[in-house]
Amino acid sequence: MSNNVLYDAPGPRTRRNTLIASLLAGVLIIVGLYFFVFRPLQDHGQLSMQLWGPIIDPGNEYFSPLWDRMRDGWTATFKAAILALLASFIVGTGLAMLRAQLRANKGRRYDDRPRLLSAASYYGSMGASGISRVWVEFFRGLPVVVTLFLVGKIADNYLQWDPLWTVIVGLTLYNGVVIGEILRSGMAGLPTGQREAASAVGLSAGQSIRLVQLPQAFRIMLPALISQAVVIFKDTSLGGLIVGYEEALRVGRGIVEVLNNSLPMYLTVGIMYMAVCYALSKLAEYFQRRTRRSGLVAVAPAAAVSALELSIEASGEPIKEADIPAQARAPR
C-alpha cells in the first residue's frame, strides 16, 4: 500500500502509530473471532468429533463412504461445469460472430444479387439482427435459476433425459449469451485500424471477423472469459437444487440427512468450491497482467482498467461497451 490514494508515505511517527494500532486491531480481531465464532461453535457442540469425525478422521466408519460419495459428487460437478463451459463457448462464439457479421451487413445494399434476393438478404439480415438482439437481452436479463427451471420442466414433461443435459442446456442458455457479449464487446473495442486494415487487404467482413477480430477479442477478453468460467462452475451447484442433478452440494445434502452434521458438511463443500474458484480467479489475474503487459491493451486510464476488471469479476455481468474503447482507443 505504498502509493495509496488515501495515505501519504508514512513517516517514523505514523509508522509507529500504525504499528501500535495494528497490534490493537489484531488483538481485537482475534478476541472477536474467539467470542463470536469459536465460542458459539464450541458452546453448541459444533466442533465435536461426532460431527467432524466422518469428514476428517480416516479411522471413522463413515469416512470412506462419505468421501467416495463426495468424489462422485465432485466428478459430476466438474463434468457439468466443463461441458457447460464448452457448450457456452461454442454458442457464445457463434453468437458473437453472427452479431458482428450482421452489424457489418448493416447498410449493405446487396446490389450484386437479383432484385428479389437482394431484398430478401436485406430484410433477412435486419430481422436476424433484431431477433439476435432480443434473444441476447432476454437471456441476459434472466436469472440462471429461471432458465434451469424452464429447461428442467420441459425435460420433465417432454424430453426425459439425464439431468446432466438439463444442467448443461440451462447454464448454456444464460452463459452462452454472456460469453457472446464478452467477445462482441472485445471485438467492438479493437482499434478501428484493425478492421480497416483487414478490409484494405481484401478480406470480406466474415474473414475479417474470423481471422482478425475474433482471435484478438479472445486474447483481450481471456480474463473475463475465465471469470465467466468461475461463474459457470459456481452455478452448477444450482443443478442439484433445481433439477436434482447429483453434484457435490446435493451429495453433501444427502450426507447431512444421514449424519445430521449440516454446518461441518456445508462448510467442507464451501471450502472445496472456494479452492477451485480461487485458483481460477488467480489464473484470470495472471492473464490480465500478461495482457496488460503485452501492450495489446493500453494501460492508459487506470480507471477504465479497474472498472473493467470489476465488471468482469464482480458479477459475470458483461462488460459495458463504453469501458473497452476507453482502453483500446489509445493503444501505446
Binding site: 500500500m1 502509493n3 495509496n4 490514494v5 488515501l6 495515505y7 508514512p10 500504525t18 494500532a21 495494528s22 486491531a25 480481531i29 458459539p40 461453535l41 458452546d43 453448541h44 459444533q46 432476454f138 436479463g141 434472466l142 436469472p143 440462471v144 435459476v145 429461471v146 427451471f149 424452464l150 420442466k153 414433461n157 459456481k234 451447484s237 444450482l238 437444487l241 445434502r253 449440516s262 454446518l263 456445508y266 462448510l267 463443500v269 464451501g270 468450491y273 472456494m274 474458484c277 480461487y278 480467479s281 486510464p301 487506470a302 479497474s306 472498472a307 476488471e309 470489476l310 465488471s311 469479476e313 464482480a314 458479477s315 459475470g316 455481468e317 459495458k320 463504453a322 469501458d323 476507453a326
Partner: protein, 236 residues
C-alpha cells in the same frame, strides 16, 4: 394468456416479494460492503487481512452454498429463526421479515454474498482515483478527512457507481435462488408453486416469471448504460 391474467395478483405479489427482498438485501450489502471496503483500504494490515479474507471466502463460494450455510448452519449455532432481523417498524412495511424465517435466512445469505462484490467495486473505485488528486489535496494542506470527503470519495463514487449497479443487477438475479430453495414468497417461489403444485401449463407461467425479472433487470441495465455514457463523456 388467460392464465397469466387470472393469476395476475399472484405474480404481482411474487414480484413484490422479490422487490422487498432485493431492497433489503441491497441496503444491507451496501452497508456491509462499505464497511469491508473501509477495512480493505485501511492503513492497518490486520484490518486489511480481515477484509481480504472476507472477500475471498464469500466471492469464491456459490450463493447456494452460502444459503445452505445460513439456513442450516446458523440454527445449530443458536440463531434459530434469525429473529433479530424482525425489526419492529420495518416488519410492518415488509411483513416477510416478521413471519417468514426462511426469508430472513435468505436475506442474510444474499447480504453476506453480495457485500463481497460491493466491497470490490468500492475498492476499485477508490484505487481508480489518480494518486495525483490526493497528492494535490495534501499539498494544499487538506486534512485526511477533507481529502476523503472533498476529493477522493466524490471521484471514487463516479468510478464505482456502474460496477455497483452491475452487482445489484446480479443480486436481483441471484435472489431467485432463494425462491427455488424454500418458502421465500418471491417471484421464483410463486412460479414454482404454480407449475409444480397447481399444475398450470409452463409457458404462461414462464412468461410471467421472466417478465417479472426482466422488468427489474432491463430498465436498471439501461439506466446504468446511460450513466456510463455520461460518465465517459465527463471524465475525458
Amino acid at each position: 394468456m388467460s392464465i397469466l391474467i387470472d393469476n395476475f395478483d399472484l405474480f404481482a405479489n411474487g414480484l413484490l416479494g422479490t422487490i422487498r427482498l432485493c431492497l433489503l438485501a441491497a441496503v444491507g450489502s451496501l452497508l456491509l460492503g462499505g464497511l469491508i471496503a473501509a477495512f480493505r483500504v485501511s492503513p492497518l494490515p490486520p484490518l486489511r487481512a480481515l477484509g481480504t479474507g472476507y472477500v475471498t471466502v464469500f466471492r469464491n463460494m456459490p450463493l447456494t452454498v452460502v444459503m445452505f450455510l445460513s439456513a442450516f448452519g446458523l440454527p445449530p449455532l443458536g440463531v434459530n429463526e434469525a429473529s433479530f432481523l424482525n425489526v419492529p417498524g420495518l416488519n410492518f412495511l415488509i411483513p416477510q421479515l416478521g413471519n417468514n424465517a426462511f426469508f430472513r435466512f435468505a436475506l442474510i445469505a444474499i447480504v453476506l454474498y453480495t457485500s463481497a462484490f460491493v466491497c470490490e467495486a468500492l475498492r476499485a473505485g477508490i484505487n481508480a482515483v489518480p494518486t495525483g488528486q490526493a497528492e494535490a489535496a495534501r499539498s494544499l494542506g487538506l486534512t485526511f478527512t477533507q481529502n476523503l470527503r472533498n476529493v477522493v470519495l466524490p471521484q471514487a463514487w463516479k468510478f464505482a457507481v456502474v460496477p455497483i449497479g452491475s452487482v445489484i443487477i446480479a443480486m436481483i438475479k441471484n435472489s431467485a435462488i432463494a425462491g427455488s430453495f424454500g418458502v421465500a414468497g418471491d417471484l421464483m417461489y410463486t412460479s414454482d408453486v404454480l407449475v409444480s403444485q397447481e399444475g398450470l401449463p409452463l409457458l404462461p407461467v414462464f412468461l410471467g416469471l421472466s417478465g417479472g425479472y426482466l422488468l427489474l433487470t432491463i430498465p436498471l441495465g439501461l439506466f446504468l448504460d446511460a450513466v456510463e455514457r455520461r460518465r465517459a463523456a465527463t471524465i475525458r
